[in-house]
């Protein structure tokens, strides 16, 4: 309870005429401790060593990082399993965040063209939907996409499956991994993973895009129209360039957020296509009990996210300076 107590201590320290710096210092210390310690601990542990059957010990070895990139048996044998998991984490997050922003953009644009009242109702609804936890949403989609009670069942009963088989689309779906020999199947698949991830962050995408789009001056699009630009040209030559930065910003934020998705991946991704975030948890808490390796994977995930943010910053700066 120190975090709650210290602001009070700080306030009472301000009431005497001679102001003591101790309250401020104490508060800074508590905040610093709470923010930095777990972080530093993870970094330090990532250089530690696992002791078989007895947890881990302090050390300074790069073995965990080596294991991540080339496998534990290097140089005799190279394993890219962990890099592959990082690849899937990036793959899911990139597609899902881009998909969410792409679909949220037209929705938000049309929303800002509605009456004030309609806008407030929609925004309240979208904000309210944020209170649904990831577990809740994943459970809903789990039921919806499950083979015995969800959409596949509906496909079968409604005759859509037979229709797909007749038209030849069924074979295409099988190639995409969205059908078993008897019926369509969505679980487990990349499709279901990415769809659920997009769904999870979609309200955030709307909320991130709303301020920029509602500030967009309608006379800009009208001016373009009077100069001969049809609706599609107005979109590509005026609206998109004007809100380019908020679009990139929203995509990045959602991407970094999705990089750490856990429940969705556990439920919907195929076992061979799990991500680093899931692997971290399995290392730390799962059957292997290897905290140092889990920490190393967590650090790599963090550095990857930071690298992407830095890259984006660099690209935006360069396009601005053009």
């Amino acid at each position: 309870m120190t975090a709650v107590d210290s602001p009070k201590a700080n306030l009472s320290a301000e009431t005497p005429p001679t102001r003591s710096p101790w309250g401020t210092w104490a508060l800074a210390l508590v905040i610093g401790f709470l923010c930095v310690t777990p972080f530093v601990l993870v970094i330090v542990i990532s250089f530690g060593q696992k002791i078989e059957g007895a947890g881990w010990a302090w050390d300074f070895t790069f073995a965990n990082y080596q294991r991540f990139f080339v496998g534990a048996l290097w140089p005799e044998e190279v394993t890219l399993l962990h890099l592959q998991r990082l690849y899937y984490a990036l793959y899911y997050a990139v597609i899902a965040s881009v998909l969410a922003v792409l679909t949220a953009f037209p929705f938000t644009y049309l929303l800002t063209r509605q009456s004030r009242r309609a806008q407030s109702i929609w925004l309240v609804f979208i904000l309210a939907s944020l209170s649904l936890s990831e577990v809740f949403i994943v459970m809903g989609w789990d039921v919806l996409l499950s083979n015995r009670s969800g959409l596949p069942m509906l496909f079968e009963v409604s005759g859509a499956t037979d229709w797909l088989k007749e038209t030849g689309w069924f074979e295409v779906l099988r190639e995409w991994g969205l059908a078993n020999p008897r019926n369509v199947k969505f679980k487990t698949s990349e499709f279901a993973t990415i769809l659920t991830m997009s769904y999870l962050v979609w309200p955030y995408a709307v909320i991130l895009l709303y301020p920029a789009l509602s500030r967009l001056d309608p006379s800009l699009t009208e001016a373009a129209r009077t100069m001969g630009a049809g609706p599609a040209r107005v979109m590509t030559s005026v609206i998109l360039p004007t809100v380019k930065l908020p679009l990139i910003g929203a995509t990045l934020l959602l991407f970094v957020f999705l990089l750490g998705s856990y429940v969705t991946v556990v439920v919907f991704a195929e076992p061979a296509k799990q991500t680093t975030a899931v692997a971290v948890y399995e290392s730390v808490r799962g059957s292997t009990l290897d905290a140092p390796f889990g920490a190393a994977q967590a650090v790599i995930l963090l550095v990857t996210a930071a690298a992407f943010l830095a890259l984006a910053q660099y690209l935006t700066k360069r396009s601005e300076a053009r």
Partner: protein, 353 residues
């Protein structure tokens, strides 16, 4: 070729009638000002001409061709917006050549035309600047150059001076007028500033509550207002309510002579208007002479505004000649020349002035 023509244009938003049965013919190559108080429907009318709003009824034609349902991007009427609406992501030159880029003009050719237009508005040195680096006056010039780039048939300006300060506004009015005359392009300017309209326009359309009150040259509108609203909105006027009697106007005990005689049935309620500069303090005539008492004097240098109390009501007289020193309480005579009196029908909902 017949120019731009509006027939029975109407626009309603739900129950609100923004524009009511407006029919206008715009002179080819002339500058027409749509003038009226805010909310009179002038901007809505301009937006319908531009194709940004659809009229609820009526038709718009250009050169005899019906363009009522033609979308804005196919009309290509150059328009300058109140906020100028310059594209923040493009520099000055790219803003000006936007219409040409959209039309698929080769890049070099579009840039050359942009240079030409920037020369025209004296901004050649600013071609590479970002919009954020320009002053209000410069932005307006860019907006004008941009709207002219596609060589539009009709040039529309929505309150183009409202974002400028007073000094710059007067300079730009003259400059815009000279530019328009040089190009000979049919131009419509929306404004609420009568001074601006009188400075620039060949003809003025005075609007109020969605209706056209009067259309005519600035001089005609000033000297021969067709109704009390125009007399009041354009310039200043003293108003008196009375009734007609043999073509003249009776107010209380006074019978004021009017030439030409007012064309009303005897006893009609009328409102009479006299411009402050037309009333005279030292008139030679005996007709329409009234005793008056000075209640206030406003001396602004070349002109004195003298507030008077008279038996027919209060009035203001602008006096630029007599130069006689007047003090509050002085008694004098004021003459209202018979040919300077405008008589309008008085509607029941008009309160006495």
């Amino acid at each position: 070729m017949a120019g731009l023509s509006l027939k029975y244009i109407r626009k309603s938003y739900g129950d609100v009638r923004a524009v009511e049965n407006v029919s206008l013919d715009f002179t080819d190559g002339g500058l027409t000002a749509l003038l009226g108080p805010s909310g009179c429907g002038k901007t809505t009318l301009l937006r319908m001409i531009a194709g940004l709003e659809d009229p609820s009824a009526g038709s718009i034609s250009l050169g005899g061709r019906d363009i009522t349902r033609l979308p804005a991007h196919k009309r290509k009427f150059g328009m300058v917006f109140q906020s100028f609406a310059l594209f923040p992501h493009l520099n000055v030159s790219d803003n000006v050549s936007y219409a040409l880029t959209i039309a698929g003009t080769p890049r070099g050719q579009a840039a050359a035309r942009a240079r030409e237009l920037l020369d025209l508005v004296q901004l050649s040195a600013f071609a590479e600047r970002r919009i954020g680096e320009l002053s209000g006056g410069q932005r307006q010039r860019v907006a004008i150059a941009r709207a002219l780039a596609q060589e539009p048939d009709v040039f529309l300006l929505d309150e183009p001076m409202s974002a400028l300060d007073a000094k710059l506004r007067e300079d730009m009015q003259v400059e815009l007028r000279q530019l328009q005359q040089r190009l000979g392009i049919t131009t419509i300017v929306v404004t609420h500033d009568q001074h601006e309209a009188m400075t620039m326009a060949d003809s003025i359309v005075v609007m109020s509550q969605g209706r056209v009150e009067q259309m005519g040259t600035p001089q005609a509108i000033y000297h021969h207002p067709e109704n009390a609203f125009v007399a009041d909105f354009i310039g200043k006027a003293n108003f008196f309510d009375g009734v007609t009697e043999g073509g003249n106007v009776r107010i209380g005990q006074h019978l004021l002579q009017v030439t030409p005689p007012a064309n009303f049935i005897d006893g009609s309620p009328v409102r009479m208007a006299v411009r402050p500069e037309k009333a005279m303090l030292a008139g030679a005539d005996d007709i329409n002479r009234l005793p008056a008492k000075v209640t206030f004097v406003r001396d602004v240098g070349p002109v004195q505004d003298i507030h008077l109390d008279t038996p027919i009501g209060r009035m203001i007289v602008s006096d630029s000649e007599s130069g006689q020193p007047l003090r509050i309480g002085d008694a004098l005579q004021v003459t209202l020349p018979a040919d300077a009196i405008h008589v309008f029908p008085r509607l029941s909902d008009q309160a006495a002035a």
